[in-house]
């Protein structure tokens, strides 16, 4: 009749020794190596402590309905200008020309965050005036909320110039965040929630575009219009206005976030994952080593005879 192994179970063998013996020293050493070595391995192989990370978020952007428009109407320096800042307009004298401006913000996917801005600006011009260059400043309020709550005012400069007079400028682009430093991993960040253009200033220096842009670019968080393909259309009818059509989308942006370091538990969590995965290997290896050493009596110990197992 064939005999086969019908069942197997491990039997617990205990080894006893005195405190000051080689076996105690061996066990303590193995214990240290088993638990400390994985830490060293994980740490020295880079990336143990999470220091930089990034996430994706669609900002909630609102157009602030503030515009500043400068249009060169001849090659010899004539221009017309307009803005939503009354002090700027009063500086312009007879160069002021009010365009008809329409702005519409759309939430296309109905998620509560606006997705795009349609801007149409029609600037009336005299028949002898031609448009050679256009500069338009738009201000937005920009908010992020997933990790650090960032509330800031941001700026877009739309500009184009051509040696050929145009009738229309079409721009379609994305509002992109530019980070000079990563954001904090939590907390409220209102450093840049201040107006970029001082609308209450009567001085001409407040509306100097170079100054405005210089001060804006000093910030660590700015927005830019990434519109690689502006279309400048020639040939304006005598009585037709100059048109600026812009579609500015507010897409998802990748945000680098732990400015100094991520939160404590986030770091511990990622470190723990790495530590334990290395620890398992060490546990397995040194268990085998210990079993070999004690089973074969490499170090003298007193094996406790196999007792009948009681169900504790």
């Amino acid at each position: 009749m064939a005999v086969y192994e019908v069942y197997a179970h491990p039997a617990l063998v205990k080894y006893r020794t005195a405190v000051c013996t080689k076996a105690t020293l061996f066990v303590v050493a193995v214990l240290c190596v088993t638990y400390i070595a994985p830490l060293l391995v994980a740490y020295r192989s880079h990336g143990f402590w999470l220091k930089r990370s990034s996430y994706e978020e669609q900002p909630s952007v609102r157009f602030q309905y503030q515009l500043l428009l400068i249009v060169a109407t001849s090659t010899s320096g004539d221009y017309v200008a307009w803005s939503t800042f009354p002090k700027f307009n009063s500086l312009q004298g007879n160069k002021l020309r009010i365009p008809s401006t329409s702005a519409r913000e759309e939430d296309q996917n109905q998620d509560g965050k606006l997705d795009r801005l349609h801007l149409l600006l029609e600037l009336p011009l005299r028949p002898e005036e031609q448009v050679y260059s256009i500069q338009l400043l738009l201000t937005f309020s920009y908010q992020l909320s997933r990790m650090s709550s960032v509330v800031m005012q941001s700026l877009l400069l739309l500009q184009h110039s051509s040696s050929i007079p145009g009738s229309q400028l079409f721009l379609s682009g994305d509002l992109r965040l530019q980070q000079r430093e990563p954001l904090l991993h939590r907390g409220l960040d209102t450093r840049y929630n201040v107006s970029i253009i001082n609308a209450n200033s009567p001085f001409s220096s407040s509306y100097d575009l170079a100054q405005i842009i210089e001060m804006y670019e000093e910030r660590n968080l700015t927005t830019v219009l990434s519109s690689p393909n502006p279309v400048w259309t020639f040939g304006r009818a005598a009585a037709a206005p100059f048109q600026l059509k812009a579609v500015i989308r507010y897409p998802m942006d990748i945000i680098r976030y732990p400015f100094r370091s991520p939160g404590f538990w986030e770091m511990i969590k990622f470190a723990w994952i790495q530590y334990v995965s290395v620890l398992l290997i060490f546990l397995w290896v040194f268990q085998r080593v210990q079993t070999f050493v004690f089973q074969n009596q490499v170090l003298p110990t007193v094996p406790v005879p196999l007792l009948k197992q009681h169900n504790a």
Binding site: I70, Q92, G93
Partner: protein, 740 residues
């Protein structure tokens, strides 16, 4: 008279006034009668035309005519009574010589239902009518009417109530077709529009509006078996499906139940509120300066992208200088190019409760070249005129005015307005305006550049500014000077660089001071001919003195605020002597060892003074770089070699280099220090001090106390877990074995 097209004629009929004019004209033109218009396309049950001309004895005959089957032509007009068909004719005299002819359909346009007076098919009337104006049985005028009239389709349900009955939204969608925008009309591409006839739907059935706005508000839900087969899903997905009538839509229950949220008011184009400026009693920095009448005190300034604003307010204690180029099309008659001293003598609030008047000093511009630029003037250098350093030969002023007798001159054009405001405390004590005027030739395309500046001066305007206290500030001029033997003090004078203007010749070049911390190079050109290169020794001396004029000093200040009497504040400038071999005889047109480049090396350091790092100058060295100047006449242009007076350009330049010397140089690092980075966390990502990173001072994501507390909690948990397990039993055994 040009015959009017039909469509326009019909439009005119609706304007009686215009028509009367037309009638008069036509009456004048024709003695006979005429229908106006004489051909009408109608799609309604009423047609109006006018018979113009002497209509006494005219009879109107209405007949329905059929075009010939073979030729398609209408029969010839014959003044015989015919069948008027379903139309009747009404004639009415509007005024003398004008008869209004009106044709009306004598039955309703409803589609036949239960009534008899109706249309049998949708195209109710399709016929051609002819109205003849007969006189003495002869046709005098003919009116043709092409009638193509469709039946009126009325709603089948009674429209008794004014209110729209809103169905229960739980069982019937409220807006089943959102793209049905026009009531009673088939909206193109809106396939759910009930007004669209099946024929119309055929036209655009493949291009229906998609989604919600296409009226497709009850798409079949995902669980329907019919959806499953139409998708690209695997056949087992979804595992189960439901077969139910399309009326059981889950979207039916989705309707507005009366809950409202107040919308957050977003920004919009705000109505501009322009507040009048409020003059304050005293001035602080940045406050606008006001005139006596409470308006801004303005000076033209540049702003935006370089445009000049004529009425820009001036801020207290803010200096500026702007250049405003303007195209001079005609002689100016008013500001800003034409100003009178009386206009400029403005009374300004001084900030102490009183007023000061701007005092105007007039100057006439001697040289117009900084102010007037004309594209017509070509400053082509004279090729036979040598040009050296300023003061040596005549500089060729390129902006010489052309023959002035032919060109109209604009007199007394304002070319510069330089305001100097003296201030004390919170107010102004005096404002002086230096106005530069000149006579500008009115040339087509001439640009007049006007300079506007304002400087606020407190106390002595001639006081020399320092460049730091005590260390130098980056961007401030380096202070230098020469020792005045008589008084024993150092007289300040600047170290300069060339500031080339225009054509870049040294003769016309200006100078700019050397500023601390900025490495600069600048240069200019000399124009020399072969004859100038004959005397090399003299040329060397000329170039050397020309460059040495940039550094006409012997001392440079150690710090930014030197004491003129204290020589320890000043450092001697080292001049490296020129090592020139004078004996060498060079061929004609070649000069060797010309000191054409001036090197200024300034050694600076940073030392701890008064609690912070201050920048000081330790030494300054001036040296020359020698080069060989040779008249080049290769490349086909042999003129400079053959003619001794034809000139070529030779560059002279100077450069300033700042060399920062550390106050205490650290000992050089050994190779072991360079390579051993185990404990240098700046150079090693896995340095040992950051092993327990969140518990170290390196970690700044959270306060140290907080991360320490969290770390201790973790350690406590680990210790507790390990003690309560096997280890605890082992320790207990050891403990017992000791005591037993």
């Amino acid at each position: 008279m040009r015959p009017l097209p039909v469509s326009r004629t019909m439009a005119i009929i609706s304007h009686p006034c215009l028509y009367t004019v037309l009638v008069g004209l036509l009456n004048h033109a024709y003695g006979n009668v005429v229908f106006q218009p004489s051909f009408i396309l109608t799609s309604g049950p009423k047609v109006t035309a006018y018979l113009l001309g002497n209509n006494s004895g005219i009879s109107l005959i209405l007949t329905a005519v059929q075009p010939s089957n073979t030729t398609g032509a209408l029969p010839l007009p014959v003044c015989a009574e015919g069948d008027p068909g379903q139309w009747f004719l009404l004639a009415e005299t509007v005024e003398k010589n004008t008869l209004k002819v009106e044709l009306s359909l004598n039955h309703s346009l409803q589609l036949c239902g239960n009534t008899t007076d109706c249309c049998l098919q949708p195209l109710c009337v399709l016929e051609t009518l002819q109205v003849l104006a007969c006189q003495d049985a002869l046709p005098r005028a003919r009116l043709l009417v092409q009638a193509q009239i469709y039946a009126v389709v009325l709603p089948t349900r009674p429209v008794s109530e004014n209110k729209t009955v809103i169905p229960n939204q739980a069982f019937e969608p409220l807006g089943p077709c959102p793209c049905d925008l026009t009531h009673g009309t088939c909206d193109v591409l809106c396939c759910c529009d009930q007004d669209c006839s099946p024929g119309a739907l055929q036209l655009f059935k493949s291009k229906c509006f998609p989604g919600v706005f296409g009226g497709n508000v009850t798409p079949a839900p995902d669980y329907q078996c019919s959806v499953q087969s139409s998708r690209n899903d695997p056949d087992w997905f979804p595992f189960l499906c439901v077969t139910s009538p399309a009326d059981n839509s889950p979207y039916l229950g989705l309707f507005f139940q009366g809950k409202t949220i107040t919308p957050r008011r977003g920004p919009s184009f705000q109505s501009p509120t322009l507040t009048a400026p409020l003059p304050e009693s005293t001035y602080r920095q940045g406050d606008p300066i006001f005139t006596e009448v409470g308006q801004y005190f303005t000076i033209p300034q540049r702003s935006m992208v370089g445009q000049c604003l004529d009425n820009a307010p001036v801020a207290f204690l803010q200096n500026f200088q702007f250049w405003c180029p303007r195209l001079l099309a005609s002689c100016p008659t008013g500001p800003p190019l034409r100003t009178t001293p009386s206009d400029l003598k403005i009374r300004v609030r001084d900030g102490f409760g009183g007023f000061i008047t701007v005092s105007v000093v007039e100057e006439v511009a001697g040289d117009l070249s900084p102010f007037v630029s004309s594209p017509g003037q070509t400053g082509k250098p004279n090729i036979t005129e040598s040009s050296l350093f300023p003061g040596r030969t005549q500089a060729s002023t390129s902006a010489t005015i052309r023959n002035q007798s032919q060109i109209e001159l604009c007199h007394n054009v304002t070319l510069a307005m330089d305001y100097t405001a003296f201030w004390r405390g919170n107010g102004l004590t005096d404002i002086v305006l230096v106005r530069v005027i000149g006579n500008v030739p009115l040339d087509p395309g001439v640009f007049v550049t006007t300079r506007y500046s304002a400087v606020f001066v407190n106390g002595d305007a001639s006081a020399q500014p320092n460049s730091g206290n005590p260390g130098y500030i980056n961007g401030k001029p380096v202070i230098a000077g020469t020792l005045d033997k008589g008084t024993g003090t150092v007289q300040r004078s600047p170290i300069s660089l060339w500031q080339p203007v225009g054509d870049g010749l040294c003769a016309s070049a200006g100078r700019k001071p050397v500023v601390f911390g900025e490495n600069v190079t600048a240069g200019c050109l000399l124009r020399l001919a072969v004859q100038d290169l004959e005397q090399c020794g003299q040329l060397r001396e000329t170039v050397r003195t020309g460059l040495a004029a940039l550094v006409m000093v012997t001392f440079v200040a150690r710090s930014g605020n030197p004491d003129a009497a204290n020589l320890t504040d000043w450092v001697n400038i080292t001049f490296v002597p020129l090592n020139v071999s004078t004996a060498s005889a060079s061929p004609p047109g070649v000069c060797e060892d010309i000191p054409s480049h001036l090197n200024i090396h300034i050694y600076s350091t940073e030392v701890q003074l008064r609690g912070r790092l201050q920048k000081l100058i330790l030494a300054m060295e001036v040296s020359y770089t020698l080069s060989t100047w040779r008249v080049e006449c290769g490349g086909g242009d042999s003129l400079p070699c053959t003619q001794t007076t034809v000139t070529q350009s030779f560059p002279v330049s100077s450069a300033v280099t700042f060399i920062s010397i550390p106050a205490q140089t650290p000992p050089p690092k050994t190779r072991f220090q360079i390579n051993f980075t185990e404990f240098d966390c700046d150079r090693n990502d896995v340095c040992w001090p950051q092993l327990a990173y969140p518990l170290t001072r390196y970690y700044t994501g959270e306060p140290y106390s907080l991360s320490l507390a969290k770390g201790l909690i973790l350690v406590f948990l680990f210790i507790a877990a390990s003690l309560l397990g096997n280890l605890w039993r082992q320790i207990c055994q050891v403990w017992r074995s000791f005591w037993v």
